[in-house]
Structures are given as C-alpha cells and as structure tokens.
C-alpha cells in the first residue's frame, strides 16, 4: 500500500494535506484524551454537519436531530479512549450518531409506527424507473436555488427510512459500501440494493418538470414514457 507522507516525492499536495490533517487529528485526539478537553470542539467541529445529517436522516426532525447530535458528541467524548484508529474518526462519530438516533427512534412514541420500517429487510419487489425525461445537464444557477434544496430534502424525506439511511451514508456522508454496512449493521449486498432503489426513486421524484424547479435548455420538458 502506498504510504502517504510528507517525504514521499510522488505524493500530491492534496494527499499531503490529507496526511497532515490526519496526523493533526490523531494528535488532537491524544491531547484531548490526555486531559486537554478544551480542544474537543476543535477536534469534532469539521464533523458537525456529518453527525447532524446522520441523525436527521433517521429522525426527520431538526430539533430531535440536533439533540441527538449533541448527545452523540458527548458520547464520543466519553468514549474517546476507545476509538480505534483503523476506522476513520468521522465514520466512528457517524456510527455513534446513528446508534443514538436509532435509540431515540425506538424510545420515542412518535416514531413507534415508523419503526416498522426499521428492519433491514427488503420486502419490496424490484423498482424500475418511471420516467425517461432527458436530464443530462444541471444549470449552474439551479444549484443555487433554495427551491432545489427544498425539493431535494422533500424527495429524500419521502424515501422509505431504510433507503434514506443508506442513501445518506453513501451519497451524502460519502462512506464506502463496507463502511455503510458497518454503520447501519446491514449486509453490503443490501446496501447496494437499497442504494439503487433510493437513487432511482429520487431520480423519478426530481426528474425535470416534476415540480417546476427544473427549466433546462429553455423549454418545457417532454416526458418520454414507454407505456
């Protein structure tokens, strides 16, 4: 395996930056564990959003997700000595947040009915695309629109919880298939199946013309359905 280090001539600047960051992170962890607790926020601040997103993907409520994120960070502090460096620190934090969020979902009465979907089983049949509109380009201005964010959030919220959790871990948290399987405690095959369905459903939900957000190539969208 290629060792990324400051002295490696073939190492790119980006890789060096990553190596330095990882070294700094390990040093920070060691200092916090040694008693410099004031450094803990510096340690976890790059992962605030990741932990929050992991929580809200499960709880679907901002206040609950924030509370769980805070609890997850406190829990991480309490168990920082047990962090094993073969896992990424970010993945370890996400794992804690997922566990905290699932505990809250089980405990909280308002999630009682939703928890039926929590079993990692795949009881649905195959999902096939419903719309074949051409959607090759995203106009740069569309990426800035608040409506797009809302449309994305609504579409993601509409996913079945098991699909949403896998989609968030893979495509928003950028965890690998193996990491996603570990964090969600499901098989890698199920990760792939649920990710496929989540992506297909989101594509159908957000296909051009569905909610007026999209206006690409100066014209209305012509839906092309095979039936």
């Amino acid at each position: 395996m290629h060792e990324v280090g400051l002295s490696a001539i073939s190492t790119s600047p980006a890789q060096i930056q990553i190596a330095r960051t990882l070294d700094q992170e390990i040093a920070l962890i060691e200092r916090v564990c040694a008693g410099e607790t004031q450094l803990f926020y510096e340690l976890i601040s790059p992962y605030e959003r990741s932990v929050y997103v992991a929580a809200i993907s499960i709880l679907q409520n901002e206040a609950d997700a924030e509370e769980v994120a805070q609890d997850a960070f406190l829990n991480a502090f309490a168990h920082l000595n047990s962090f094993r460096r073969e896992a990424k620190f970010s993945t370890w934090l996400i794992q804690i947040a997922v566990n905290e969020a699932r505990t809250k979902r089980r405990r909280d009465r308002k999630f009682l009915y939703k928890s039926i979907d929590e079993q990692g089983q795949d009881e649905e049949g195959e999902y096939f695309p419903k719309d074949f509109a051409d959607w090759r380009e995203i106009p740069s201005e569309a990426l800035q629109r608040a409506e797009l964010c809302r449309a994305l959030q609504n579409a993601i919220a509409s996913l079945k919880p098991a699909y949403r959790e896998v989609f968030v871990m893979r495509d928003m948290e950028h965890l690998s298939v193996a990491e996603t399987a570990d964090v969600l405690q499901i098989s890698q095959a199920l990760v792939k199946t649920q990710l496929l369905r989540a992506r297909l459903k989101l594509r159908d939900a957000l296909a051009p013309g569905i909610d007026g957000v999209w206006n690409i190539r100066d014209g209305p969208w012509k839906k092309v359905r095979p039936w």
Partner: protein, 81 residues
C-alpha cells in the same frame, strides 16, 4: 437497430453499481454498448448521476442556524471547559 446484448431491466439493476465503478469490465462494456443505443437508459444514467452530484456537495442539508454555538455551549457545560 444496433445489437443490444443486455436488456434495459438488467441495466437498471446495475446502473447504481456502474456509477460507483463497481461492475466488472465485461459488464461495463456491455452496459456502455447498451447506452450507445438506448436513450431511455442514458436518461436514467444521467439523472442518477445528477442526483449523486446534487447531494454530494453537501448543500442540500445544513445544520440549523446557531447549531455550532449551541453545541459549544453544551460541550462547555458538560466537559467543564
């Protein structure tokens, strides 16, 4: 019509793995041959790539306003710093 060695349904089953570069070389070549002759599957592929791109930049979900300040306060109360 160009010979299509893989069906649309098979492409749909693998399109997510294709995007993740998690299909073997033979399947990738068959899918790419299919994409050259099937605008529906190209639309599915492009749309799925757009979804991944749209959410991948992290702008779809952000922490609520004041999140960091409240977190710092919680840590300060509980960590004694």
């Amino acid at each position: 019509m160009a010979a299509i060695e893989i069906s649309c349904v098979e492409v749909w089953r693998e399109v997510s793995n294709y995007i993740d570069d998690a299909v073997d070389r033979e399947l990738r070549e068959r899918m790419e041959e299919h994409f050259r002759g099937c605008e529906h599957c190209v639309a599915v592929l492009d749309g799925m790539r757009n979804i991944v791109r749209l959410v991948g930049d992290g702008r779809a979900f952000d922490t609520p306003a004041g999140f960091s300040d409240r977190l710092k306060a919680v840590l300060a109360r509980n960590l004694g710093s």
